[in-house]
Point group: C2
Chain length 579, copies 2
């Protein structure tokens, strides 16, 4: 697990894109919001690092990266080709190690320990510039992005690009539940985690004040977590630890009034994990006194009450609460929704890319991480082309030998084929053909109908990748690798055969390699689901978690801080100062 | 310097106060702000620690402490007598080690490392309760304080007391300069330091954005510090270090535009220090490129400009700025001003106490730290009483022997006498009398006029104590010691003679013991002025500073955090993430 350079030696391929000549439009553009919008050539700063032109004299290709989360930073860290002029635009000047955010909410680790300035990360790369600003509009047609300073809303500017890398992440999905935005806290950003930390202490301080009924104190100390995914579960566990290990000592008069509830709409929490983990987690929460309400959907939130509906019975009930954390899933950001309309994806819920992470309907925009999903091409859509390409002697039928020859390219282009073979325990593509036709020899032949029927179930293996840090980071590394070898692979494509056209794809498509997932459950116990269906639950998994998370840190600074935070917590407990 | 229990073995005296029977008024009171105000008996929480009655069966005396700064916490830490029922009320649930705030502004140490929860500090003392609320009114007549929850303004309550300890500190003094409140940052609270830290990074990020004139960038990177006292000077030095050691590497394109200016109305910075220190500091700032504008008063601040007036010439000028920190002195909080009106101090600028820290015009309210000053009684006011008391044989004249017998009590009651003798290098009070009468023998006699003339210059030695953490902490310890031995000293008073009345004062008056002061100047150099006029400037003083500040920490947690922050800074530099 140590080698969390997830993807370094993996998928080295990338699809071609037509090189479009860069259009230079230098003019003042009036933008939204009534503010000043001016055109930026990217090298306006006197003494800026980006002034340099590449040796050949031709201007560098401009790459604009939107976002500095897992995807964006992993792209920047791995981009080693100095022949791009890179502009990074993000409303946050730091990268945050988001898997530790639940720990930050209660001070198990400090917010400062999980962040690293972007400028520090790219310090040694002279061709990368960072601007702390928010992109509020992507103009795909004119290849521009419109940005706004985060500290001064009137300060707007425009940046043009040759390649755009969209890695803006997602927003919290409230499912339009009334009152959520006004009354619930989220757990997506570092600021969110800090808010929760302050709010938890607030609740304890408020409930300790005089002149209050016990009922009111109970309400204030009712903590509700909405969403039984890994984030919600980990937060509930961390909160329980904070209360039972630290706060009970400092607030003895109200400690018996505290209650933590976890609401989940489906029947089980952590339902993306193995059944054993789910069961263990549910039992542990039961032992810890965390109230688990599954099959119960939130329909409304007011400032003091959460209304829920039991999905099976339709019965509604209300829970008076003091603090509610909403952690149910993600949705597309408005700027991305607007961009989707421009590129003909108005009807989709999530921005779609092809297997090379290029946004469908564009030729120089890439999207990765939580803000996009890969729209994996179906085998059935291309079945005739595949058959035709594999049929090297143009006989109209496919021999086993011909099928075997095309196998590598088919699996590379359509990873669901490989996955299907693995799932069905078939040793090769040929076994699959054999399965539908009975015993076959090298010279056996298949017509297109038999070929189709053999592959008919394959597309059912297609799944969207989860919206995790791991996926985003692997995508960033993959895309950086493609950018690093763009020219090289232009000359010598290394991707699979183009079944519908001639030649080969420039790069291999992106492939996700799942390295396992953790679910910390509090009390120094963690559940780990590792590749090969290896399940580990308990203290040993917690120590694995510590070592993996320490090794995954983006810098030695954050690594040493996180580790010392853990030690500090063991020695002194968590701090409850209201800052 | 290590023994920073400043005061443990010092002044053990305290004046008598009439024990008033506690008035119990249990009723609903309507309060300001339209919110609910109800009456609190202090033990409303079920299972609260304060329910216990002392063995004798009589109710415990109620002590209410307002504030958890240096004075309040030092009082609470040293209060060892369990026979009081103590309620602590403060808008912040933590104690902050304020001398490190300038370091917090730039991340040399983290905010979290300089705070410790009040509940943690008093955890072992069962008779102390803490409420996170703001006192907005003191009702001295009815012995009540009106409080408001800091998180919910509508939540108000009333607490009654037998003894009130006012340790609320002070607010920043803007001298009613227009625009200061709206545009300047302060440096009094932890929140202020965190705001400054974010604002400094903001300036660098803003100035790095495209589409900006160099003039505008220069304005944004013009940092102005108003006030050349220890806080302002230390902040300017810390900011200079942050910029030159860390930010220049991350913001190379704008590094040459940064300018730090320090404005001071008098002729020199650090004018409470020795001349050598002032000169060294001014020269060091000059070398560092910190622009020092002395003799220049701020008359107006707008959102982008500071207007100053040269005091000697009356010339005005304006400085465009990006960030201004105002650190010029302190003023009385509104709630204290209101209280002063109630106790007949409406005409004073600062709340006055007697030498036993009791608020003048009250008999059960004490005030300490920055919110009050000691109104030292003048010898000249009491000269007849002193003379009369010393004249044991009622002869109308004083022999040297009689004067010597009264000496200890006079010096204890009027510390200025002792100070005067020390300053004039007189070995004893008798030397002083000799001075005015020439050579004297044991049997020599003085009449009252000669006595007066000998002491006429003594009151000139009276000085207000500085508004420092050291004074506040010593006062807290002193007052706690008095409370600890209240009954004991009631029976056996240990204070000086009451010159105007009969008997002795219960306790010795408060005496401040100056243990020295530091002025960190940046670049690992500090100026230290220690008792006995010992001056140390440079790296050695910096190491002394490190060890003193580490030893002075309120808990082992903060001590280890502060030290590890210093180490982290040496290794990794200061973090510039915008959180």
């Amino acid at each position: 697990m140590n080698g969390f350079n997830f993807y370094e030696k993996f998928s080295k391929n990338f699809r071609e894109h037509p090189y479009l000549t860069r259009t230079l439009i230098v003019c003042a553009v009036s933008g939204g919001g009534g503010g000043l919008v001016a055109y930026s050539e990217g090298n306006l700063l006197s003494g800026s690092k980006v002034d340099k032109l590449p040796e050949a004299g031709k201007p560098k290709k401009k790459v604009v990266v939107l976002g500095t989360g897992w995807a964006g930073i992993s792209f920047l860290k791995n981009l080693k080709n100095p022949s791009y002029d890179v502009q990074v635009i993000s409303p946050r000047n730091y990268f945050a190690f988001t898997p530790l955010l639940p720990s930050v909410t209660v001070g198990t680790v400090e917010a400062r320990s999980v962040v690293e300035p972007v400028r520090n990360i790219v310090k040694k790369k002279e061709n990368i510039n960072f601007w702390e600003a928010e992109c509020f509009k992507i103009d795909a047609e004119n290849k521009k992005v419109y940005c706004r300073s985060v500290t001064n809303e009137k300060e707007e500017f425009v940046v043009d690009y040759d390649y755009l890398v969209v890695a803006m992440g997602a927003r919290v999905n409230t499912f339009n539940t009334p009152g959520v935005e006004e009354n619930c806290l989220y757990l997506k950003e570092v600021e969110d985690a800090k808010k929760i930390r302050r709010a938890v202490i607030d609740c304890f301080e408020k409930a300790s004040l005089p002149n209050m009924s016990d009922e009111e104190r109970k309400r204030i100390l009712q903590f509700v977590v909405v969403g039984g995914g890994p984030t919600g579960v980990e937060f509930a566990a961390e909160l329980h630890d904070f209360v039972s290990e630290d706060l009970v000592k400092l607030y003895p008069s109200v400690k018996d009034l505290v209650k933590i509830s976890l609401l989940e709409a489906t029947d089980h929490i952590l339902n993306m994990f193995d059944k054993r983990i789910t069961t263990f987690a549910e039992e542990k929460f039961h032992r810890d006194g965390i109230d688990l309400k599954t099959g119960s959907m939130v329909v409304k939130v007011t400032d003091k009450e959460i209304s829920t509906k039991e999905i099976k019975t339709g019965n509604t009930s209300t829970i008076p609460y003091g603090l509610a954390v909403w952690s149910t899933g993600i949705a597309t950001r408005p700027v991305v929704t607007d961009f989707m309309k421009q590129v003909g994806q108005a009807n989709r819920r999530v921005l779609a890319t092809d297997e090379w992470l290029r946004v469908e309907g564009t030729n120089s925009i890439y999207a990765l991480g939580d803000c996009a999903t890969i729209n994996q091409r179906k085998v059935m859509e291309d079945i005739s082309s595949i058959f035709k390409k594999a049929d090297q002697d143009n006989s109209g039928t496919l021999t086993v030998k011909e099928a075997q020859a095309a196998l590598k390219d088919i699996c590379a282009r359509y990873p669901q084929v490989e996955l299907y073979l693995k799932t069905k325990n078939l040793k090769s593509f040929v076994d699959l053909l054999k399965q539908s036709k009975g015993d076959v020899k090298e010279s056996s032949e298949f017509n297109i109908e038999e070929f189709k029927s053999a592959l008919s179930q394959v597309d059912s293996q297609m799944k969207n990748l989860p919206a995790t840090a791991q996926v985003a980071a692997q995508q960033g590394t993959y895309l950086a690798d493609c950018f690093n070898r763009m020219d090289e692979c232009e000359k010598k494509p290394e991707g699979p055969l183009r079944f519908r056209e001639s030649g080969r794809h420039r790069f291999r498509p992106f492939r996700y390699k799942h390295l396992g997932q953790f679910a910390p459950l509090g009390g120094e116990q963690t559940a780990a689901q590792l590749p090969g269906d290896w399940i580990s639950i308990g203290h040993s998994a917690q120590w694995l978690w510590y070592s993996v998370y320490a090794s995954k840190q983006v810098s030695w600074r954050t690594r040493s801080l996180v580790v010392s935070d853990w030690m500090r917590r063991f020695i002194f407990g968590r701090d409850s100062s209201q800052i």
